[in-house]
């Protein structure tokens, strides 16, 4: 079920809220657990089996890992087994066909592809279960004895299918005890509706533009650039909008989830970009892969190797295709170059640093969005006028004019400026008084506007559902 859909907003959510707020305190976790399972099973009920398997794996191995923590060999064996089971399920669904097709290419064999449908959110919930088991193995967390609470950690619907990737240690306390206040609910409503607006009124429109470009038979160099810029903004608003909605919904139910984006497009270096983009995934790889590999407390060559491995895996996490791996390696090289040579000069904030980051990120998302490596390179070639396309085309001119307003809004909203302006306005005596009424009305207006777009049945897929 999509957050940005009428069934979710006006059917599922009101029922869950009603259910959640009327059940006694002791049953709230059960209420939200069953609501989350319903939410997950809405589109594809068959996938619940794999979700329950992930929960069961986490629960059983969590208890075992804690029980045998002092017996090193058993503990290690259990740890390897638990991680292997989780990764095997993820690998089976997500990567089987990738490996089979590459094996076929390399060996000339013709093994049939499995063509498995990817259970929604499997990459996210598998990483959550993995982090839980790793934390117990390391002794950083105590195993959850209550299966309802552990299940709730994994399936909590606001963050179940597209993150943020929540660590068990972050919400272990909240699973037992959380407070609900008007302030939290108001904050949650604001955050959720702002996320909804980012998704519906910016990401979806830019996604529409990207779709038009892909279908166009009247491409031109500038149309390629328009697409690349639109896609870079689209993916940001799509994913950060979803994260805002997840964080907002979490607040409404009393949970505090980690932030996932922090205005990545204002970064002055690629290193900074990755400290601001998909932060929950970045920190997961840092804590569970990069640091165990030795991080930066090793010799230079090993440090560079660690970076390379982490970013290749980050790319591979996003999808079972070579373009995602190349995308990850692309960032590995950029980060290595920055670490070795550029980072000091990039720390002096200059306009060119931002141009450098935005240019490289735009190129990266062309690779990310491509259906193959070949298409990625042909698009990049076309952007630099090396594919024989004309500079301008009739369709480019039309769609540039038609989507220019959305692009300007998106570029402005991708910076902290709107928030700063709003805060400064609120800090003035008159502005503060006005915002008491104006801010709730603006939030309401955004909800109504989003509803209008949904009722009209506009373009509305979620990009990160495939990960």
């Amino acid at each position: 079920m999509l957050f940005s859909s009428i069934p979710f907003l006006f059917w599922f959510l009101p029922c869950v809220l009603l259910f959640y707020f009327i059940v006694p305190r002791g049953l709230k976790n059960t209420a939200i657990l069953f609501s989350s399972l319903f939410f997950y099973g809405w589109g594809e009920p068959g996938y619940i089996v794999w979700l329950v398997t992930a929960i069961a794996t986490g629960y059983v191995f969590g208890l075992l890992l804690e029980r045998f923590r002092k017996r090193d060999k058993i503990s290690k064996a259990l740890f390897v087994l638990s991680v292997s089971i989780s990764l095997a399920i993820l690998g089976y669904f997500k990567y089987s066909d990738f490996f089979i097709s590459n094996l076929n290419i390399m060996t000339g064999s013709s093994l049939p592809l499995l063509r498995l449908a990817l259970p929604i959110g499997i990459s996210f919930y598998t990483f959550q279960v993995l982090s839980y088991m790793i934390d117990i193995y390391r002794g950083d967390a105590a195993a959850q004895k209550n299966p309802i609470d552990l299940a709730l950690y994994v399936v909590l619907f606001p963050q179940l299918i597209a993150g943020p990737i929540v660590r068990y240690t972050t919400i272990a306390g909240q699973l037992k005890e959380r407070s609900l206040t008007v302030e939290k609910i108001a904050l949650g409503i604001r955050r959720f509706i702002i996320g909804l607006g980012k998704k519906i009124m910016v990401a979806n429109l830019l996604g529409e533009l990207c779709g038009i470009f892909r279908e166009s038979k009247d491409k031109s160099v500038l149309f390629f650039w328009l697409y690349a810029v639109a896609y870079s903004l689209h993916i940001y608003f799509d994913f950060s909008g979803y994260s805002d909605m997840a964080i907002g919904l979490g607040k409404i139910f009393g949970f505090t989830f980690p932030e996932n984006f922090n205005y990545p497009y204002i970064s002055a270096s690629i290193t900074e970009f990755w400290q601001r983009w998909h932060m929950s995934l970045g920190s997961w790889f840092r804590d569970y892969v990069y640091i165990p590999l030795g991080g930066n407390r090793v010799c230079v060559s090993r440090h560079l190797f660690n970076i390379f491995v982490v970013w290749m895996l980050t790319g591979f996490w996003h999808g079972a295709a070579w373009n995602f791996i190349v995308w990850g390696i692309y960032f590995a090289f950029l980060l290595i170059i920055e670490k070795l040579w550029l980072l000091k000069s990039l720390k002096q904030k200059r306009i060119w640093n931002h141009v450098y980051v935005i240019f490289l990120v735009i190129i990266s998302f062309v690779i990310f969005d491509a259906s193959s490596i070949g298409q990625a390179f042909s698009y990049i070639k076309a952007m630099f006028g090396a594919s024989g396309y004309p500079l301008v085309s009739k369709e480019f001119l039309y769609y540039f004019r038609s989507y220019g307003g959305v692009l300007v809004v998106a570029m402005f909203a991708a910076t902290p400026l709107p928030k700063k302006v709003w805060s400064r306005l609120g800090a003035t005596p008159v502005g503060g008084d006005v915002l008491v009424i104006a801010e709730p009305l603006a939030i309401l207006a955004m909800l109504v506007a989003c509803t209008a777009y949904l009722v009209d049945g506009s373009y509305n897929p979620f990009l990160y559902f495939r990960f």
Binding site: I6, G43, E44, I189, E395, S402, L444, A449, V455, D456
Partner: protein, 365 residues
Amino acid sequence: MKKYKDIICVAIVGLVFACLALAAWLLPSKEFSDSERRKLAQVPKLSLSSIEDGSFVTKFESYTQDQFPLRDTFRTLKAFLVYNVFGQLDNNGIYMADGYAAKLEYPLNVSSVNHAADRFGYIYETFLADKNVNVYLSIVPDKSYFLAGRYGYPSMDYEKLFAIMQGKMSYAEYIDITGTLDITDYYKTDTHWRQEKVTDTAAKIAAGMGVTLSGKYSEKVLEHPFYGVYYGQSSLPLPTETIHYLTNDILDGCKVTNYEKGTVGGIYDMQKAAGKDPYEIFLSGAVSLITIENPNYQNSRELIIFRDSYGSSIAPLLVEGYSKVTLVDIRYLRADFLDKFIEFNDQDVLFLFSTLVLNNSETLT
């Protein structure tokens, strides 16, 4: 102050949210959307198989969207946001130029145009090639032909479309009507042309087939307001239009046989005036096979028109030159079976299709 702001936020957003949700749950379902001219989705039936194959979810989503309270108001709001807040140039492919709502029909779908020409070629080869018939082709340009270039909207390559059709239909004499038409000949909110404005176009087509029309009609106005197909699609509060229709003694004396319904009547089907699409007063709208018999024409000259909906309003103007006009819509009647209904011999045969249908010809059989 912040505390008050939070309370107001929770109260007003919660109230509106709860009202919309309750209205969505409790309001009775509507069968039909007048503005969109389509049936609305209803509550889907719940079954194990519909859950398993995902059809329940898909249908339920359509149902919640179609039956949402204040649906038309929300659609109008969305159109307002699209045009006035984001400054987009079209909403769902409908654009406004010079007060006219038109559809972006872009780019030229060459395979569709070829498909249309192939279907017409099939009809010619199967039923007409060895008969004593005169074959003509005329193409009705859609509104974008007049608006797109002038107002900077992309449009199909019309000249290429005309050239493909003429090239592949060399057996037909081409009657170019683009010179007799301009944008004022079309309804502002609908795709179609206005009958009272296309008498010169009818005369041009007739002349192309060697027929002279007197062009004497009296103009009548339909009392019912007319909201064209783009009225609903644009979702904008566009002004109401009126349908004018032409009559004279010849038209009044004609007998129209609707083979689909087995009914006999006149040129104008006034039962359709208060219906969902008043344009259907012209020969009852989309009908697969219709004949118009003109008892006032003394000879036995006949015309067969292969046509789309544009033909409904212009065909009556051609009747004057024929004893019988047969209108065939091969979107609803399989071309394979034409000889079961029509005897082809010694007739004028006109292929009269709009650029919109030629560019989306998958429905031509």
